[in-house]
Subunit: 253 residues, 2 copies
C-alpha cells in the first residue's frame, strides 16, 4: 500500500479569463516547468480557476438587488449586489446570523455565501460563482488531460469551506472525476478482529486539503498534482455529488 | 513559497501498549527504514497510538453500565458497556438519533461517541478513549523527537471525525505542538486588491488529512512525516485547543 505521496504545486499558471482553455493553460505550465502527468496522478484545481474560464463571474453593473438583499446588506454592512447574487445562487438559507450567511447551493453543498466570492470581472467590481456542474467540469478536464498525456488520471475541483464546531476553513472537493470520492471500509476488520469504527473516508476531501498546502491563497498556484495515492475508480460516477449527505440521513439540517 | 510537499508513512511501527515509549518506537522505525527527521518536519500520529501508550484504554470487565446506558444500548443494539464509557467521556450530548451518538468531549471536540472506539485491551474486549490532554501529549513527543534528531519539529495527533452535511469522515488534528494550527489571511489582499474571502485556514486539519492518505485504516501505519510545508510557529501555544470554536461564536450549537 501507499507509503509516500507527493503534492506538487504547478508553476506559472496565469489568471483564467472567460473562454480560456484550462487544459492548455495547465499543459503550458507543465511543458515549461514539469512534471508531465503520469498514470495515477490526481490533478487538483481551485474552483475559481474553473469558474473564471467558464464565465461564472458577473459584474456588479448587471445586478439589481431585491428589497430583501438591500435590507440584509444595510443591516450587516455588506454590498447589496453581492448579497443579491448569493441569494440567486442559494437553494436554501441555512443560517443568517452575525453577518454570516450559510446557504445550500444548487449542488447541495452547504457553505458561506453559497460559494459566491468577490472578484474582478474585466476591470470592474463583481463576484465569482461556483461552476454550474463541477463534476462535469472535472470530467471534461480529465478527458482532455488524459488524452494529452496518455495517462489514467483523476481530477478534483476544490473550494475552501468552513464547518461547524471547528475554527478555520479547509479545502474540500466540489467536483470529482475518475476516482471514487469515498473509501469504504465497512465490513472490514482490524488486526484484532474488530469491525472498524471508521467506516467511510472522504478521500477526495482529504486530497483537496493536501493540495491546499501547496496552493496557498496568495501564491497564484491554482493547480496541484497529488502523486502516489492509489485511488479507486468510480464505476458509478458519483463524483463530488456523492459527498453530499442526503437530507434524510443528515442529523444537522 | 512551498511548491512540493512529501507525505511519508513510517514502516514497521508495532501496536502500542500501555507504558510504551512512543518516541523509541518511532525512532526504531526511522533507524531501520528512514527517513531521519530534519528541520521543518511535521510528525503526524494517530491518537490511538498515543492513547494506548498512555493507558487510555479500558476493559469491559471494569465497566458497570448506568440505567440510562442500558436503555439506550437496548434500543440501538449497542454494547451497554461501550455506551457507558461514551457517556463518561462526554461533557454534552449534541445528537442522539438513528443509533448515532454525537458528543462534546472534555477538550471541546464534537465527534461520534466522544472519541471512544472498540479496542482490544490485553486480550479482552474493551475500548480506547482520546488522550486526556492531546496538546500536552504532542508537546512531550515533540520535545523528545526534537532532542533525538536535533531538529525543529512540529507534532500533530489526529482522529477521524465526521462532519455535518457531507458524507464520509476526514482526519483532523486533536493535538498540536510547535506550529500554529491556523493560518490567518485576514487583512491580506489578492492581486486585484480584494480582501481575501477565505480568512483563516485550519492548516493542522489539512495536514492531518494529508497524512491519513498514507496511514490508511488497515495498514498499521500510525505515524507519518509531512515534509516541505513551511509552517508558522505557535508563540501563543494555542495547540489544537485553538481549533475549537467557542460557544459564543458557534452558529451550530
Amino acid at each position: 500500500m501507499t507509503a509516500e505521496i507527493r503534492v506538487i504545486g504547478l508553476h506559472g499558471i496565469p489568471e483564467a479569463k472567460a473562454g480560456d482553455d484550462l487544459v492548455n493553460l495547465i499543459g503550458a505550465s507543465i511543458d515549461d516547468h514539469g512534471p508531465a502527468l503520469v498514470d495515477g496522478d490526481i490533478v487538483v484545481i481551485t474552483h475559481k480557476f474553473v469558474s473564471k474560464a467558464e464565465g461564472r463571474v458577473i459584474s456588479f453593473d448587471n445586478i439589481e438587488p431585491s428589497d430583501f438583499a438591500l435590507r440584509y446588506a444595510e443591516r450587516t454592512g455588506k454590498d447589496p449586489r453581492h448579497v443579491e447574487v448569493v441569494l440567486q445562487e442559494a437553494n436554501r438559507i441555512v443560517r443568517m446570523n452575525r453577518g454570516i450567511l450559510i446557504a445550500e447551493t444548487r449542488h447541495g453543498f452547504i457553505c458561506a455565501n453559497a460559494g459566491v466570492d468577490a472578484s474582478n470581472v474585466s476591470g470592474k467590481e463583481g463576484v465569482s460563482m461556483l461552476p454550474l456542474d463541477p463534476d462535469a467540469s472535472a470530467g471534461a478536464i480529465r478527458e482532455a488531460l488524459s488524452q494529452r498525456y496518455g495517462a489514467r488520471l483523476a481530477v478534483i475541483i476544490t473550494d475552501t469551506f468552513g464547518r461547524p464546531w471547528r475554527r478555520g476553513q479547509t479545502n474540500v472537493a466540489i467536483g470529482v472525476s475518475g476516482m471514487s470520492p469515498l473509501l469504504d471500509y465497512r465490513g472490514q476488520f482490524d488486526t484484532f478482529g474488530y469491525e472498524l469504527a471508521v467506516t467511510v473516508i472522504a478521500i477526495a476531501d482529504e486530497i483537496a486539503s493536501a493540495a491546499e498546502l501547496v496552493m496557498g491563497k496568495l501564491d497564484q498556484r491554482p493547480v496541484a498534482i497529488v502523486r502516489g495515492y492509489h485511488w479507486e475508480a468510480d464505476p458509478e460516477e458519483m463524483g463530488a455529488a456523492g459527498l453530499v449527505m442526503s437530507a434524510d440521513r443528515d442529523l444537522f439540517r
